[in-house]
C-alpha cells in the first residue's frame, strides 16, 4: 500500500531563517505531488504541484519554492522566512497522470515563524 511521510511535524523558526520541509511517498511510482497551506484551521491553499522530477508548477507567487529531486520526494523551501509564512503545511500525492483522481494527504507540518 502507499504511504506518505512528511517532516518535521513541528517547526519554530525565526524571521529571516531558511526553511526546508520534506515529503516522501512510498509504494507508488511517478505520483503527482502537491504542497498545500492551511491557515486558521480552514481553507486549503494550493502552493505547488509537480507531475514529474524537476517539473514544478506554482499556484501562488510568494516567498516559498518547491523542488522534486527524486520521483517520490517533494521539498518545500524558503531562503528567508516571513511572519506570514506561519501555518499548517500539507504534502499530498495522487496517481500518475491526469487520470489520477484521489488526493491523499500527509500528516502535516506546523510552522511557526517568530
Amino acid at each position: 500500500s502507499q504511504t506518505i511521510h512528511q517532516w518535521p511535524a513541528t517547526l519554530v523558526q525565526p524571521v529571516g531563517s531558511p526553511l526546508s520541509l520534506e515529503c516522501t511517498v512510498e509504494g507508488t511510482s511517478n505520483p503527482n505531488l502537491y504542497w498545500y497551506r492551511q491557515a486558521a484551521g480552514r481553507g486549503l491553499q494550493l502552493l505547488f504541484y509537480s507531475v514529474g522530477i524537476g517539473q514544478i508548477s506554482s499556484e501562488v507567487p510568494q516567498n516559498l519554492s518547491a523542488s522534486r529531486p527524486q520521483d517520490r520526494q517533494f521539498i518545500l523551501s524558503s531562503k528567508k522566512l516571513l511572519l506570514s509564512d506561519s501555518g499548517f503545511y500539507l504534502c499530498a500525492w495522487s496517481g500518475a497522470g491526469i487520470s489520477g483522481n484521489t488526493i491523499y494527504f500527509g500528516e502535516g507540518s506546523w510552522l511557526t515563524v517568530v
Binding site: Q6, N32, Y34, G41, R42, G43, L44, L46, Y49, F88, L90, A92, S94, G97, I98, S99, G100, N101, T102, I103, Y104, F105, G106, E107, G108, W110
Partner: protein, 116 residues
C-alpha cells in the same frame, strides 16, 4: 471552471441523531466529487468519492454521500452521529471534461460538532 461551496461553517448535532453536511458544486462537464475529514492537528483523510454509477456512495466510518446532478449537490450523511465524528469536513470537486483541471478544488470546510 470548477467550484465548490460548503454553505455551513458549522453543523451541530446530538449524538445518535442523523447528520448531514452540505456541499454544492459547479463544473462545465461531469464531476468527480470527494469528501475528506480532518481531525485537529492532523492531515486530511479521504472518506469517499463519486466517480460514476450509483448516486449513493458509501465510505469510511459509516459515512455516505448522495450525488444529485439536478441539484448539483453531494451532501455527506451518517444515520447516527458519534461524538468522535466531531471534526472538520471538506468537500472537493474536479471537472473531468476536456480541458478540466486534474487538481480538485476544495471547499472551505464545515466544522461538525456532535454533542453527547
Amino acid at each position: 471552471a470548477q467550484s465548490v461551496a460548503q454553505p455551513e461553517d458549522q453543523v451541530n448535532v446530538a449524538e445518535g441523531n442523523p447528520l448531514t453536511v452540505k456541499c454544492t458544486y459547479s463544473v462545465s462537464g461531469n464531476p468527480y466529487l470527494f469528501w475528506y475529514v480532518q481531525y485537529p492537528n492532523r492531515g486530511l483523510q479521504f472518506l469517499l468519492k463519486y466517480i460514476t454509477g450509483d448516486n449513493l456512495v458509501k465510505g469510511s466510518y459509516g459515512f455516505e454521500a448522495e450525488f444529485n446532478k439536478s441539484q448539483t449537490s453531494f451532501h455527506l450523511k451518517k444515520p447516527s452521529a458519534l461524538v468522535s465524528d466531531s471534526a472538520l469536513y471538506f468537500c472537493a470537486v474536479r471537472d473531468i471534461s476536456s480541458g478540466g483541471s486534474y487538481i480538485p478544488t476544495f471547499g472551505r470546510g464545515t466544522s461538525l460538532i456532535v454533542h453527547p
